[in-house]
Amino acid sequence: MVLTVLIPSAVLLTIYILFLRKKNLDEKMLKVLGVIVFIGYSLQLWYRLPLDRTVALRGGPLSPFMTVVVVIVRWLTGALALVGISSPFFKSKSFKNIMIFISPFVLLLNLIFFKQNNIAYFGEQSLFFTEARFYAILAMLIALSVETGILILNLKKLPTRREVGKMFLVFFLLLPTMFPQAGLRIFFGRLGSVTNDFTLVHRLTVYFSFLIMPVIYIFMKNESMDNKRLLLVVLSISSVFQFLYVKRDGLAGLPFHLCNTALFLMLISFVFNSKSTFYFNYFVNVLGALCAIILPNISEDAFTLGSVGFWYNHIYAFILPILAVALGVFPRPVFKMMRSAILIFTIYFVSMMIVNAWFNNYTKVDYFFLYSDFLARKFPFAHDIRDNNILYFTGGDLVFKFYWLYNLLIYIGFIILMFLAWAVYDYLFKVADAHGALRMKLKKDRMDILQLRKELRGRPLTEPLNLEGVNMIKIENFTKIYGNAKKPAVEDFSLEVYSGEVFGFIGHNGAGKSTTIKSLVGIQSITSGRMEIAGYDIAKQPIEAKLRIGYVSDNHAVYERLTGREYINYVADLYLVPQEERDERIEKYVRMFNLEHAIDNEIKSYSHGMRQKIVVIASLIHNPKVWILDEPLTGLDPMSSYQIKKCMREHADNGNIVFFSSHVIEVVEKICDRIAIISDGKLQGIYRLDDLKEEGISLEELYMRHAKEQWA
């Protein structure tokens, strides 16, 4: 009967391939064939007896050599089926190439060893046609052949050598996912070890479960999203096949155990992009699988079907959801996803309580370990709770038994574990982000140095980038935006200050003076634009630029527990000032600022003015080319103020640059050669004070004029 369906179908397909093919139809046909391969392969697995019960290397129906050949043919066919199922739904070149170039050989092997393969399945040739699974195998092979045929006929260009290499690599990597579970037993017999109790085999398996994730991640992270999805679909299909590989009889064989259910849900999640089922797996099942991996409840030899199936099942359930998020196929979860995961888990949990209570009327089942005392044995206090809190319901001949409190405790425990898992995931995401950002940052730093070398055109890194700017401060189109602020603190600011000048920088509170100065001395970053100190770019050559700067901050940043002398020496050390020069300068400035009596006292005991003087001395200790002062005269007594102004003039007269900000217009007017007015982050103008004097405009008038224009 089945043959009467299969043979005409094959004939019709052949006619289609040879005469009726159209491109759009081809794509649809390939998808249909992919589905047929999936159903055929699944049925073949579902209906057959396990391979290792019918075939063994010695004593089976085939010779040892033929047994090995049959196992290899099935292994290759399984991997090909995986490609045949997923290839029509994705645009992977490697998968298409496998179907075109590897598939014919595998199909040929199936043809050559058709008889031996089926003897391995059914024992005798006479039984072939009486078994439904035979037709499932046949349908799958026909569908694979047609798929291969269509793709070969559509081939327009031969693959490059690189593509061929990739094709073999991909096929080689797919092989372990479809390894026939009986193969280990057939090839090697018994291992003689049970994979539990942290034995070496168990530990190796645990290590493997954890190590395989980063390996796949590293291998796949730069692939396209389509390829990442393809990988997950392929792995989830293979996980379902590996589950079906072990024939389970009766109600207990239904895939209602958490990790078994999860394999099917995972396939649905990846194929249909279903978020709710995916995050159920992500929060609930990964935990369940991890528990199973660490504390496996198997007592069979490691190479038996039960054992190998167990590991395939749980390793897939453990790694796939994590990989899906790590590779970005599914987004990192928000709390909403957790909520829906809890909801689905609750539905699953209640369903399993009911199903357990119902099915146990017929046979022994224990889905999610809710019915037996498996978990209670591990936690002795739970035994009494389980046995003393039972609800009975009857319906006809059936008795429904609910260990309500015991189950409730398991439910609460699992929910707590889910939240813990959330915390762990969250932490791991943060770690991953931090490391990603670190890598990018270091890469950017390396690129910046390369760029600097390029800009210096072979000159040493210690030479100024702008040879024409060695005698000036140059600011070009400087813009600074703080954090996520929308409005820039300073915008498109350009300025040049030359040797021998005392340059005043005036503006209202919050105008952007301190921001400009802080970026100029390297305290703050530059959002865009360029700042140069004596030809050195402060962003690209910070050390060289800073060596030429003396800076007096607006907040008297000093270590209060140090003495004045210790503080100045500390700064001198940072600026690499030689002993003789520092002795000479400390003596000179200490005398100039009348600090002889206090220089060896802790700065904690200094007055405001004394602190300012100490900061000024420290900023001049290396005789900087550029002296930058931020509000240096605020709060100073007339004598101190006079001394600092005198010092500024002298420093400029020695061929250096003095750049300072101030609110006090009279002071600026008195000691500056040129000034710049900044308002609301924008440069309003640069003026030479001699010119203003000639024009009879006072600085105060000018400033007020700008202020009015700005606020108008």
Binding site: F198, T199, L200, A434, L438, K441, L442, D445, K518, V521, G522, I523, Q524, S525, P542, I543, E544, A545, K546, L547, I549, Y551, S553, N555, A557, V558, Y559, R561, L562, T563, R565, E566, I568, N569, Y570, V571, A572, D573, L574, Y575, L576, V577, P578, Q579, R582, D583, I586, D600, N601, E602, K604, S605
Partner: protein, 545 residues
């Protein structure tokens, strides 16, 4: 009066908002959700207290009477009084906000009351969140829950927080005077500290000598229970008026008990009004006056190595601020004591092989927990630079050396203390403790702690609180510090569990096991060094003030 009340309200809210972000709930839903969560936690605490009490009463056999409740109240209040005294001695007289608050158009008395109010509000929240559930759990466990009991619980939730605040405010006066006296007499301070440490050790050795040898815990069960009962009775004898609070709950002699409790409260208020309040302004304003410090005469000296420059600076700052140093390393200072006590108990216990494993690995756990909790200096290394960090930013050269200088200091000191504690442990291990294993644990503790020192610094480097520190001189929300302690805790647990696994795994030889233990500690340390140096290279220069 109305104006005074308004001023009090403003100043109180100002002080609270300086420490906690005050915001109105966005909507009624959020308010209900918050309320529900708080209620849930209260229920959990009540259930936990009830469970604990049932265990004490039913299993251990402690009699359920007013003495038991008084015992718990005394213990809880003692902790609160201690916390309030420590906090108030800083907050009332030495706080940075004193000059600001005192300059406001408000009377010093109002500033004083507002400060007490802030503490009372904190104590009340604590009382409402923990003491009330405790009372309810207690009533449930002892089957005493009645409307009268619940009403009394609510009343005491409001009344009890007054006592620690008022007592604390009184005790701080002599304490601050003593502190000032010691500040100007460092020699006496030094000797007092020495006496305190020495006295502690002598007391500890005396206590330890009282322990029976061999120590059989199970055989001592009855003695333990009797001792517990005796302690409860003796605490009650010295419980002052708290005994009356216990009586109120148990409904014995209620009228008089209420009178005494309220009478004492009134007496405390009067003492505050007539003793503490008048002294407040005098004491608080004195601390903002400039201190006259003595000179440290030195010659100018050049150092060519920035690392040494930074190290020297750290050294000077540390020796000139010993109280901060002691604060930072208080746990590690306590480590030898804890080890001595632990060792003395362990060596007396009859142990099997698992007991020996526990002794060895738990020595590491305790050492690690205490050492990692002492990583304050690293977890605040960058933040605590405050505005002085500007100097590092403008300095030409490899300023990231500052990090290594700060870390080296922490490394050396904590490693020395760990080694000292272990040597003490090993020296006292005259019984059959595995000395070689203790050496191994010492080595691992030093390595893991050193890794955590780097990690703590990294936490602060990635999230520095320079501005906050510069503004207040302290970190109100020391997130970095808390994160560092949490990480230290988790990794201590992890390594202890791992080493226990290595010890109980009989498939390895002793040499292989030891190799695994050393390898994990070394791997952790090397991984931290590698990651830290990468983070330092990438992010230190990015820190902005």
């Amino acid at each position: 009066m109305k104006a005074a009340y308004k001023r009090l309200k403003i100043m109180t809210l100002l002080q609270i908002s300086n420490k906690h972000k005050l915001k109105k709930p966005e909507n009624i839903k959020a308010l209900i959700a918050k309320g529900a969560i708080r209620f849930f936690f209260m229920l959990v605490i009540a259930a936990a207290c009830a469970g604990l009490l049932m265990l004490l009463v039913d299993i251990i056999g402690i009699p359920k009477n007013a003495n038991l409740l008084t015992f718990f109240i005394v213990i809880l209040q003692a902790f609160s009084i201690l916390a309030c005294t420590m906090g108030l001695s800083e907050n009332l007289y030495l706080a940075k906000d004193n000059p600001i608050l005192l300059s406001y158009p408000a009377l010093p008395n109002e500033v004083f009351i507002s400060k007490l109010l802030v503490y009372f509000i904190y104590e009340f929240i604590k009382s409402f969140s923990f003491i009330l559930p405790f009372f309810l759990g207690f009533g449930f466990a002892l089957k005493m829950l009645s409307p009268a009991y619940i009403l009394n619980s609510l009343l005491m939730t409001i009344i009890l927080p007054f006592f620690p605040v008022l007592i604390g405010a009184l005790v701080t006066i002599p304490l601050v005077y003593l502190r000032r006296f010691l500040r100007f007499h460092p020699l006496i301070k030094f000797f007092l500290t020495l006496v305190l440490f020495g006295g502690g050790f002598v007391l500890l050795t005396r206590l330890v000598k009282l322990l029976p040898d061999p120590l059989r815990i199970l055989a001592m069960y009855d003695i333990f229970v009797d001792q517990m009962k005796a302690i409860i009775v003796s605490v009650n004898k010295w419980s002052l008026f708290y005994g009356h609070v216990g009586n109120i709950f148990f409904g014995t002699g209620t009228g008089l008990d209420y009178l005494i409790v309220f009478g004492i409260l009134l007496a405390l208020v009067l003492l505050i009004v007539f003793v503490s309040r008048p002294l407040y302004f005098k004491m608080a304003s004195r601390t903002s006056e400039q201190a006259n410090l003595k000179a440290h005469k030195q010659a100018n000296k050049a150092h060519k190595n920035t690392f040494l420059t930074f190290l020297r600076k750290e050294w000077i700052l540390t020796i000139r601020n010993p109280s901060e140093f002691i604060n930072n390393y208080s746990f590690i200072f306590a480590l030898p004591y804890v080890f001595y006590l632990m060792m003395s108990i362990f060596v007396r216990v009859d142990r099997n092989e698992l007991g020996d494993i526990m002794t060895v690995t738990f020595s590491m756990l305790i050492a690690l927990l205490m050492a990692t909790a002492s990583n304050t200096a690293s977890a605040m290394a960058v933040s605590a630079e405050g505005q002085e960090f500007v100097l590092v930013k403008i300095a030409p050269g490899k300023t990231s050396n500052m990090a290594w200088a700060k870390i080296l200091f922490n490394f050396v000191f904590s490693s020395l203390m760990i080694a000292l504690s272990y040597l003490l442990f090993i020296l006292l291990a005259e019984h059959a403790i595995w000395k070689a294993d203790l050496f191994l644990m010492m080595f691992c503790t030093i390595l893991i702690n050193s890794g955590m020192v780097l990690w703590s610094f990294q936490i602060d480097m990635l999230n520095p609180k320079l501005r906050e520190y510069a503004a207040t001189g302290a970190l109100a929300h020391a997130q970095n510090y808390s994160r560092s302690i949490l990480l230290g805790f988790l990794w201590s647990i992890f390594f202890t569990a791992l080493f226990i696994l290595f010890y109980i795994d009989k498939s390895s030889t002793v040499a292989l096991r030891n190799l695994k233990i050393i390898a994990s500690a070394v791997a952790f340390f090397l991984a931290r060094i590698y990651l830290f140096s990468r983070y330092l290279r990438a992010y230190f220069k990015e820190i902005e003030f």
